[in-house]
């Protein structure tokens, strides 16, 4: 499997084509817009938090297959998670993405482990992180609220 095929796994391309969690973020109380200035990719992600749990999540945006599939996989993984669990998962995901492919993901990352190969491509790290950074901002806002 070439680096390219490892990066664009079936799973990732499928999520990019039929993304989960896409919807109107503005129906949720906490929304955040995140932009990748180098390519113009952007995402707006909204969440509702009930009793410390992400009880609702929707995102909208446009971008490359890495940023879109990452948003989709993250929605699957963290929709319904507790805030603490979500924040810990985001932290681990970030650590993996910063590792240049050297970090071995734990079970916690689920399908998001597929981005381990993307981490080898420094310039694509931001793509994969886009949705996660937006969710992190929403969670912090909900915590402060």
């Amino acid at each position: 499997m070439s680096g390219l095929e490892a990066m664009y796994q079936e799973l990732i391309l499928d999520h990019a084509k039929t993304p989960e969690g896409k919807g109107d973020p503005t129906t949720h109380p906490f929304t955040h817009h995140e932009l990748n200035p180098s390519c113009g990719d952007e995402i707006t992600l909204g969440i509702t938090v009930t009793d410390g749990e992400i009880s609702g999540l929707a995102w909208d945006g446009q971008g490359c297959s890495i940023s879109m599939s990452s948003a989709s996989i993250m929605s699957d993984l963290l929709g319904g998670a507790t805030r603490d669990e979500a924040l810990a998962t985001i932290e681990e995901f970030r650590e993996m993405m910063r590792s240049r492919g050297k970090f071995e993901p734990s079970d916690r990352l689920g399908d998001a482990a597929a981005f381990q190969n993307t981490a080898k491509y420094v310039m694509r790290v931001k793509c994969a992180m886009l949705a996660w950074v937006a969710l992190e901002a929403d969670l912090k806002a909900s915590q402060a609220a």
């Binding site: 664009y8 390519c39 113009g40 490359c64």
Partner: protein, 430 residues
């Protein structure tokens, strides 16, 4: 001082020929066999002669320039000014008409910030703008030739007026004429667009500008490295270009200006070496170029920049331009040959620079670029610092292949072949 022109150019000891022959002079390609480097519009590789000229200088001839009286300083100053003379001659300028800057962006800022200072009463009133004055740019400009003018307008109350582009990203002289008025004070435009590859009719723009007494500011980033350019003959007032796009080093660019203008433009960046008399209250500035060169300059980079124009001159800019005309057409044809790929800017067959920005239907530019990268083709993906233009094109990002003196038709073929596999890989073609 080592005379860099006496260094041999790679394997051959004769003048290099654009393409495969010149390629042998660039160590990057030996380090990356099989790679098609199609990102020269972003930044160029440097030939051995340039790398070595700087290395020899730094190892044995380096000292402070233009300050002090030591022999070491004298020799270094000589090398530094010799480089300026080479670069000046390369673009048809007088020595005092070339100011070293950090890069082309910085050069454009020197003009815009100098005009802001003049507008604030700190210098020659001919550069002062105010309410009612107009600055004209095109909608295709690089951010470097757009944002400094936005900021100047915001500071002075002048209005920024934009020449529109069509769906292909192209502007026209008629479009320009429509927005120019007697209140137009500056017309800033790119000689060659880094996205569309359009080559601007500079002489006509200068004539329009002169008709209303406006200054012309030419972004020559993508022309000076690729075409024979005589700035005096073109008649522009100011021009900007960067060494790193023309076989030279990063860390240095050049501002061209007509001497009488440069002698009068206030220096926005101030400090040592640029001055005559400094009291605690005020400073007086030297004539150009020193007035703009505050602080320690990019000395060894200037020497390398000189070696870079020596290299390009040895190849011959006419030969470079002829070669790149061929490559430019081949790039355009390569894109035309791939179903689902669309070329931005002039179509194949029309005059264009040796770069091709591409939209692949159904595949994001980042994904296109990643696929090409995997196939050994280095291209550039993104908005290429031209967001407003991309907004007109209806996409956030394009994929750009661009060429230089060392680019070969084989690389174009490698690009075409890779490009033709993109849609299948991402599952969007029939």
């Amino acid at each position: 001082m080592e005379d860099s022109t006496s260094l041999s150019f790679g394997e051959h000891h004769m003048a290099p020929i654009p393409g495969a022959s010149a390629r042998a002079d660039f160590p990057f390609f030996a380090a990356h066999p099989g790679t098609a480097y199609l990102d020269t519009a972003a930044t160029s590789q440097r030939p051995d002669s340039v790398i070595e000229a700087e290395r020899v200088f730094v190892r044995s001839d380096y000292a402070a320039v233009h300050r002090g009286s030591s022999m070491a300083t004298g020799e270094a100053t000589w090398a530094f000014e010799d480089a300026r003379e080479k670069v000046a001659r390369f673009v048809g300028a007088g020595e005092r008409e070339i100011v070293w800057t950090q890069n082309a962006t910085d050069a454009l800022n020197v003009v815009a910030l100098g005009m802001a200072d003049a507008s604030a009463g700190l210098g020659d009133a001919r550069f002062a703008l105010g309410q009612g004055d107009e600055i004209v740019v095109t909608a295709a400009e690089h951010h470097a030739n757009l944002i400094p003018w936005q900021r100047l307008a915001a500071k002075t109350g002048a209005r920024l007026v934009v020449v529109p582009v069509d769906a292909a990203g192209l502007w026209t002289l008629d479009g320009l004429r429509e927005v120019v008025t007697p209140r137009t004070r500056v017309i800033a435009f790119a000689h060659v667009s880094n996205v569309t590859g359009l080559i601007a009719p500079v002489v006509d723009v200068v004539e329009i500008a002169r008709g209303v007494g406006a200054l012309t500011v030419l972004d020559a980033c993508q022309s000076v490295p690729h075409l024979p350019v005589d700035l005096a003959a073109l008649g522009v007032d100011f021009a900007a270009f960067s060494a790193h796009k023309m076989a030279g080093p990063t860390g240095i660019g050049a501002l061209y200006g007509r001497a009488e203008l440069l002698d009068a433009l206030p220096p926005a960046r101030t400090g040592g070496s640029a001055i005559t008399v400094v009291t605690l209250e005020a400073a007086e500035f030297l004539p150009s170029p020193q007035r703009f060169e505050a602080g320690t300059q990019a000395v060894s980079q200037a020497v390398a920049f000189g070696a870079a124009v020596d290299y390009l001159s040895a190849v011959g800019m006419a030969a470079v331009a002829a070669h790149e005309r061929e490559i430019g057409q081949a790039l355009a044809e390569a894109v035309a040959a791939v179903p689902g790929a669309r070329l931005v800017g002039p179509p194949a067959g029309a005059e264009r620079a040796a770069l091709a920005s591409v939209i692949v239907d159904g595949v994001h530019a980042h994904d296109v670029g990643q696929f090409l990268d995997d196939r050994g083709v280095t291209v550039r993906t993104g908005h290429h610092c031209a967001q407003p233009l991309h907004r007109v094109l209806g996409v956030a990002a394009t994929t750009r292949a661009s060429a230089g003196v060392y680019t070969t038709l084989d690389e174009v073929e490698q690009f075409r072949e890779a490009l033709s596999g993109v849609r299948t890989f991402f599952g969007v073609s029939a």
